[in-house]
């Protein structure tokens, strides 16, 4: 799969950007030229040799804060995606096999989670459950998990109804064997697409939460927090939000491109994702995801 993704130029570019961002997350705090919390005499300074991206309203080096803050954003978005993967994909596969009651319940629960304005919920729950980014990410992961639920359920349904699986069941194959042997292979590509998308979504959510100052303690640098502090000084430094905003956008863009590329290279699975997201071919006008989904 990775080789096929890398065979496309857009895939190489997306992977390149993501590797760069991951490297920032790992090495960022080390690479930071100055202490991200140390203040200097010059506040709101412009670009200079000692401060490549200038200083903020307290005289702290912006580049250092950007580098030091990358770890929170990257870790947070990966956490969101992994939680959503586990919470969504496992019930998505099982809902096909565990009887009608569980199927109905899990479908309604997925409908419910989709209907919740997740940023509002993430803000509310994080603030109420204690100001930690991990809690916030777990909650957000649960809230965005319906994507994985639908994608994996749609893929499982197509497999479960196929002739080769039916003949395997007739030949005496157990559910566990069918899932391991046949379902898994079909579920993996659309889940990979969803994973790339969700990392992008997670990035936006982490940035939004840190922008509001939720999930992190004030002096700690984050990309969202950088933007928030820039907001008060736009009259003096109108270009200040550029660097963090571009970083966020480039990362989200790379995630989206990667999702598209993975979808393209895994043909049939991509179609399962398209079907699960409610945009079927126009001969069957689409139904909104909130109304029952793929059933």
């Amino acid at each position: 799969m990775l080789r096929r993704v890398l065979s496309l130029p857009s895939g190489r570019l997306a992977i390149g950007v993501l590797v760069l961002v991951a490297a920032l997350a790992v090495l960022g705090p080390v690479l930071a030229p100055q202490d991200p919390l140390a203040t200097s005499g010059t506040t709101l300074a412009g670009v200079s040799g000692s401060h490549w991206l200038g200083t903020d309203n307290l005289g702290r080096d912006v580049l250092s804060r950007l580098l030091a803050g990358s770890r929170v954003s990257v870790l947070g978005s990966v956490e969101v995606a992994l939680v959503a993967l586990v919470v969504g994909a496992v019930p998505g596969i099982l809902s096909v096999y565990l009887g009608r009651t569980i199927e109905w319940l899990s479908l309604r629960l997925a409908d419910t989670l989709v209907a919740l304005p997740f940023l509002l919920f993430a803000v509310a729950v994080t603030a109420l459950l204690g100001n930690g980014l991990t809690q916030a990410m777990v909650v957000t992961g649960v809230l965005v998990s319906p994507l994985f639920y639908r994608v994996s359920r749609a893929a499982t349904l197509t497999v479960a109804r196929s002739a080769y699986v039916e003949s395997a069941v007739v030949a005496g194959a157990s559910i566990g064997w069918v899932v391991r042997r046949h379902v898994w292979v079909k579920v993996l590509p659309p889940v990979a697409v969803a994973l790339a998308q969700t990392v992008g979504t997670g990035f936006v959510i982490v940035s939004s939460l840190t922008f509001l100052g939720i999930g992190v303690q004030p002096p700690a640098p984050t990309w969202g927090g950088l933007l928030a502090s820039d907001l008060g000084f736009l009259a003096y430094q109108p270009w200040a939000p550029l660097a963090p905003a571009l970083l966020i956008m480039a990362t989200v863009w790379a995630c989206n491109v990667l999702a598209d590329v993975v979808r393209d290279v895994s043909g049939e699975a991509g179609r399962a994702l398209v079907a699960a997201r409610g945009s079927r071919p126009p001969t069957h006008p689409s139904t909104p995801r909130t109304s029952g989904g793929v059933s």
Binding site: V114, P117, A124, D230, W253, S279, P288, R289, S291
Partner: protein, 345 residues
């Protein structure tokens, strides 16, 4: 001769009249069926969502006693306050009581200042709904215009420009758009006020001036998604045999667009609109913070930071009601425009 034509005409009119009545009745029944089906889907969603919302208090372990009595209150005093708020009763009894009051529009009172939460939310709702409605209007008109343009001029520079815009817009979080808009149009060009709100009764001009930038910030995402979906489905619709057939029969371009292509292509963008709405409501938390609006997203953020659980629950319930209502509407429109979308739900 003349009388026989008259008779024939009345006969024809009668038949046409009957046909119209039958068609109207059919459409009415269709709407009713769609409504019943939508309600059957949304009632469990609403109950589930309120249950999750209510469970937040137990999960958070927060108590009004902490807020009212401070950190070093005696266990007896805490117990007294908690029983005043009815928190010593079994969980399901509390939920039943809260849900019953909620159906009457009573969201309880704030832990922080004892004010009625419905009233507090009502104060901010006008701001948020103004912004959200304008954002939807911009999103729908902009999205439809761009999507149609790109689909009808497929492969042209206009199509490429729209695709480029959609790509950029879909990676810009609402708060980044908001900051850019404030920087350019409020701080730089000073065309709009950078913060605050003016109610509609102070005049349409000031009202629009205050909500335009936040609505633009919220709508960009909607514009991008609607445009992308509409382009895809319009392009696909124009490849269908019935559209080719309509063109071959010599029907005008406009008629083919409105009656054949658009009507069949409108399903996916409408469905996307229903899905986007929760995100629109959620993003209001951030945009209201940027634009200094005392709306309902701001209220949610402030209450959550203060640990005022009933207030947060109230906001969440209101947001759920908004989302569910909006999706009901979208479903009804879908049922009217593309009856086939109601099959196989």
């Amino acid at each position: 001769m003349t009388s026989s034509t008259a008779v024939a005409r009345t006969g024809l009119d009668l038949r046409r009249h009957r046909l119209l009545v039958a068609r109207a009745r059919h459409a009415g029944a269709g709407i009713l069926v769609a409504l019943a089906r939508a309600v059957a889907i949304f009632v469990p969603v609403f109950v589930f969502a309120t249950f999750i919302t209510f469970a937040l208090r137990s999960l958070s372990g927060l108590s009004p006693a902490r807020i009212q009595l401070g950190e070093n209150a005696t266990p007896e005093a805490i117990a007294r306050v908690e029983s005043q708020w009815g928190l010593d009763r079994p969980f399901l009894v509390q939920y039943g009581h809260w849900f019953g009051a909620l159906l009457h529009g009573d969201l309880g009172t704030s832990w922080v200042n004892g004010a009625d939460i419905s009233t507090l939310i009502g104060l901010g709702l006008g701001v948020s709904l103004s912004v959200a409605t304008l954002a939807l209007v911009i999103g729908v008109t902009g999205g439809f215009a761009l999507g149609t343009l790109a689909a009808l001029r497929q492969g042209s520079w206009a199509d490429r420009a729209v695709t480029g815009f959609v790509t950029i817009a879909s990676v810009m979080p609402a708060f980044v758009v908001g900051i850019v808009l404030v920087t350019v149009f409020a701080v730089g060009l000073e065309w709009f006020p950078s913060a605050g709100y003016a109610p509609l009764r102070t005049g349409v001009g000031p009202w629009l001036a205050h909500i335009t930038l936040p609505a633009l910030a919220l709508s960009l995402d909607v514009v991008a998604d609607v445009a992308r979906q509409l382009r895809t489905s319009l392009v696909a619709a124009y490849r269908e045999n019935y559209v080719v057939g309509a063109i071959v029969r010599g029907l005008g371009r406009r008629r083919v667009f409105w009656r054949h292509a658009l009507r069949n292509a409108i399903g996916p963008p409408l469905a996307v609109l229903g899905l986007k709405f929760p995100a629109l409501v959620g993003a209001s938390v951030v945009t209201e913070w940027i634009f200094g609006l005392q709306g309902f997203g701001r209220f949610a953020n402030d209450s959550a930071q203060a640990g005022d659980v009933p207030a947060v629950q109230g906001v969440l319930v209101v947001s759920i009601v908004l989302v569910v209502t909006f999706n009901l509407l979208v479903n009804l429109v879908l049922a009217r425009v593309t009856p086939a979308s109601q099959r196989g739900v």
